[in-house]
Symmetry: C2
Subunit: 152 residues, 2 copies
Amino acid sequence: MKRDSRLSGVLHVLLHMAQQPGPFTSETLAKAMDTNPVVIRRIMAGLRELGYVHAEKGHGGGWTLACDLSKVTLRDIYAALGSPSLLAMGNRTEAPGCLVEQAVNAALGQAFGDAEALLLARLGEVTLAMLSEDLRKRIGSRKIHDISAHRA
Amino acid sequence: MKRDSRLSGVLHVLLHMAQQPGPFTSETLAKAMDTNPVVIRRIMAGLRELGYVHAEKGHGGGWTLACDLSKVTLRDIYAALGSPSLLAMGNRTEAPGCLVEQAVNAALGQAFGDAEALLLARLGEVTLAMLSEDLRKRIGSRKIHDISAHRA
DNA sequence: CTTCATGTAACTTCATATGTTACATGATAG
DNA sequence: CTATCATGTAACATATGAAGTTACATGAAG
């Protein structure tokens, strides 16, 4: 099944925005993501409605962060995308009359439910601020690495 | 995203087969599943290759169980289907050069990996025999329920 | 040798993420 | 005021993969 990469994509955008002051146009962000400006507007629409980002039209317009990064988790962002389905597999039929199907659904539903719950919990543990901090560390360590590689 | 229901479907077939002696033709199984015989053959192909089921051609032919149901787990069946992807979401790019993408992938990859591991572990805990036993209980309790409903 | 059943390729259908074009809306610069 | 810039959004195109279907080859039983 084709994998949904909107969460990955929108986080990429947000992290770029957190690295420097805005605003950023959809076109700028689209180039950084190697995609189309309309795709950016589409995945950002839900975040705008929830107040996580702000969009301004006209000259000097574009997208700006409008939330406390330490208060928003990856789960919040996932929800802002409309909570698309997490699992690629599911039961053939929900609420089946057939007892066989009910037995199968019960077993699979348990496993699927547990996995979904864990994934949502994990996403809820990570804030955008934590992601941004991790990114800064990566940038920092790469700079050190580059220096040592070129001058040591 | 369209959900893959092959695991659900093939378990349904196996449980039906476990309820009474075979063999079962693809057409019979397809009717019980309200689908096409070719779909049955397709999802059973992997199980046949791994020896979980046996197929016989010609008059009196069809599918028969060829494994110890207490030794085969839902995870084994999942693997027999070719281990299709479990999650509907994924990273935009694997092995990205961009540090931002790496930071995003690290966070999401952790959450995704944990959820996948849990799901596989859960599937590995359930054997076909356990499923079949659960089904018998459901059949039994429904009979009792029906009797009480009609004659009490 | 006819019938039945599997094995498999090829095609159609359907859902959905993604990409693209087109145009309306609104804000700013001059 | 008007030209330009940027978002908002509808509409359409493309790509992928599961599921359904048709067609036919293969092989076993009567």
